[in-house]
Amino acid sequence: MTSKAKQVESHAVRPRPLVRQYRYITWLSLSLMSFLALMVLIIYESRWVYPEIQAYFSQTGNLSGQQLATRSRMYLQNAQAELLTDQPEQAAFDAAFMNIELAYGLSDMHIYRREYECSEPSLAVLNRLLTWLEVREIDRVNAVGELFTPIQCLSHIEMDQLDQRGAAINYFSESTRQHNQMLTYSSLLIFVLGLAFWGLHERQLHRTDRATRETLEWMQRAMRDPLTGVGNRSALLQDVLANQHQSLGLILVDIDFFKQYNDAYGHPQGDTLLHQLATIIGQALNHDAQLYRLGGDEFAALLHCPDSETLKRYCRQIIEGVREANFAHAAHPDKKGVTLSVGGCCFVANEHTFTLAYEAADKALYQVKTAGRDGWQVTE
């Protein structure tokens, strides 16, 4: 593998977790913030409407909900009624006096004086009338007549106040309509934004998933031998570490005179043989073992090994399986078909013992080779 190819593979395999997670969190946060903003807007608008309604209509139907001018006018009309009823003059004057005083108190308001020209003269009329009533310097009919001017003024104030209240209600109604519109459009906009952010978040999530899958695929490929499809040396070491403290068996397999096979049949045929052997060895191990290609013509198998007899049985099955396959080998010095040399040992798995086990299995394999190949041996 060239350095450039290594760079490409390295770049493709390396995940970009920080950048991806940052984007993922940002889109998600924006989406959630949008929906939160929508909630806040709705709550704000509903809280705006309630106090306005409360301010304008809460006192409707009770005495304090009436205008002061209305109440004042009613007392003046009561005074007129008292003056005109068939009762002794003294009683009529007393009742009228009381009503006019109350009317005066309710109409003597700064806001009326400031905004209505008739207010000051009306109060002056009432003041004068009260004085006359106190000293009996007016008769009933004239007193009733004197009250018409203040009543007219108070009616005018009432009507104007009603107009103002109507204007306020119209303004409130218009404001409510505007707020409703704003709420509708804002809600729609925020909702669409929230959905858009959520969509971006989903897209980012999908991309992240795909990148994770690609990374895992690259990692798996990095653990595979591309020619035979079995694991490579890295996968072997990883599997040993994944089974720490367990009793494992390691089998090393070497193809006898493979160089001569390649020379005789060519490298493509040699590759085919490797592939076929991987299948044969896998079948011989009843798929109870993981098979690895360590390089060239060397295979390894890792399996659970409760005792050395089990390991020996598997070694024997491998040899017999290849013999049964009877692959031709025209360049074999002993005029045989393709044969294997197999060495194995049992060990309790960890990183340190694996090195020793590998050396022991290799030593057994070497002994088979020196003994003429086409056989197996297990180091006890």
Partner: protein, 173 residues
Amino acid sequence: MNAVALQRSPRVRARRLLLLVQVLLVQVLIATSFALPVAANAHTLELINGDVTQQIPVSDLHAISDTTFTLYDPYQGREVEMQGVVFQAFLIDQFGEIPPALHFTAWDDYEVTLSNWDDPNWYLITLEDGEPLSLRQRGPIRLVERDYGNRDVENLREFNDWVWMIRRIEVKW
């Protein structure tokens, strides 16, 4: 009628003079009571605590009005010197403690029940600019807040709790 008969002894004359004075006094009293019935009525505050009802002359309230302060009255639109008594202290003095709620009845038939009176900010006002309050000035007794913070003085709805022309206060336990 003879001359002797026409002669009156000083004792008789004094008795007749005394009688005349008594008659005049009665007439003045009657006339006054008819001429100013409203003023007489509006010069008392009625306090009701269960079965006990007491009439407190407004003049008595004048006597205990020991606090004077200047306040912008939003209803009059000007600074006013108000004189009265802390309502919290008045309640304790009258009922021994602060009642949970009070029902007010005003001379203009306004009625309202309000609570949370354990607040020294409320004053029972009986004099304004040194003069007793009349009905025309929304008296004879008025309940106001000494400090109404930064409430808008142009918005009179903000001062709805001020009670004017107080006639009767009934305790609600």
